[in-house]
Amino acid sequence: MTKIKVSIVGASGYTGGELLRLLLFHPNVEINQVTSESYTGKFVYKVHPNLRKATQLKFSSASELQQCDVLFLCLPHNSSQNKIDFYKSIAPKIIDLSADFRLKNQDEYEKWYGHKHVRPELLKEFVYGIPELHREEMKNANYISSAGCNATASILGLYPLFKNDLVFEDRTVIEVKAGSSEGGNKVNEGSHHPERSGVVRSYMPTKHRHTAEILQELSFGKNIQVHFSATAIDIVRGLLATCHVFLKKDLEEKDIWKIYRDAYGNEPFIRIVKENDGIYRYPEPKLLSGTNYCDIGFKKDENSNRLVVISAIDNLMKGAAGQALQAFNIMFGFDERTGLEFTGLHPI
């Protein structure tokens, strides 16, 4: 059975490392090269110690890139768009994990990212990377742009409600609680352990860039508003989005169950988590570490038309590398769960 030849550009970061971990154990994949300019020639386990004994692979430089079947781009924002022609020359299919090609509208891009997009004409060539929303388009896509982690959790949590026009368009409030791995492996003043440990840090009360993706995917042609805030807490992996939406008509919890079951009943990576006993009655991000699950729960407020939707993921997995691999599986017609079977640890 011929294997798909893949390479990763920018494989020394947390996202690239997580993707490498998954690809190393994917039965249909042969890893060709993994690039890092700062670690060229070094063993990958130097920066990804969990890969000790798993591989003797070394980093190459991007200048040494050879032709391959698929190129995963795990570069800082604003890199992919500047060298996209070079990357296109390397592989017929590209999965970009940066934000460069997520937004379809160049004006929106400029508004949220503060500078003009370098190759706006290419935006329409990239399929937005949430399989649960764009599976059919992915099946014959050449270019996929993986979604942001906060956006993924928020969008998946609210998609069935917006799709069925059940909530007021301008009253949605989303509060994400996020971990330190979201910031990547670059050290900064605020990531210094004595300063970062134990914080409940309001790092993006407004204007979080991922809002743009949420608006794009939930508007369904309407003009909607999403009031998003993010707070950093003392976890490394994991992300919990608590979404407050306001129902247009009065619904029972039984109706809500049905709406989510209809939307996600057959999805391999979405679990509806809403139980009235046990320790973990609503989605719990720490249980999802290393898995590709998005757990979704909800609670109807008895005293108002507010519905609280709770959505949890591992920001490095369903929020990045896991979702990119899910898209890869769809692109090549493999079972979507291939290489993504890990069901998580408990206790953790």
Binding site: G41, K42, F43, K46, Q56
Partner: protein, 55 residues
């Protein structure tokens, strides 16, 4: 014929295209090594300052 890592004694097979002065890493202990000669294969520890994190 293999070179021996001066730090941990691991047997190191030099790459076919290895050249004198090239920096390589010991597969066992990860120490950065410098190729002293290709034939016979010999390496020595590359100079490296010890990072002190003052923990």
């Amino acid at each position: 014929m293999n070179a021996e890592c001066p730090v941990c004694g691991a047997q190191i097979q030099l790459a076919a295209d290895a050249v004198q002065g090239e920096l390589i890493e010991c597969p066992d202990c990860g120490t950065e090594l410098e190729v002293v000669s290709v034939n016979p294969p010999q390496v020595k520890e590359a100079p490296q300052e010890e990072e002190d994190w003052g923990q």
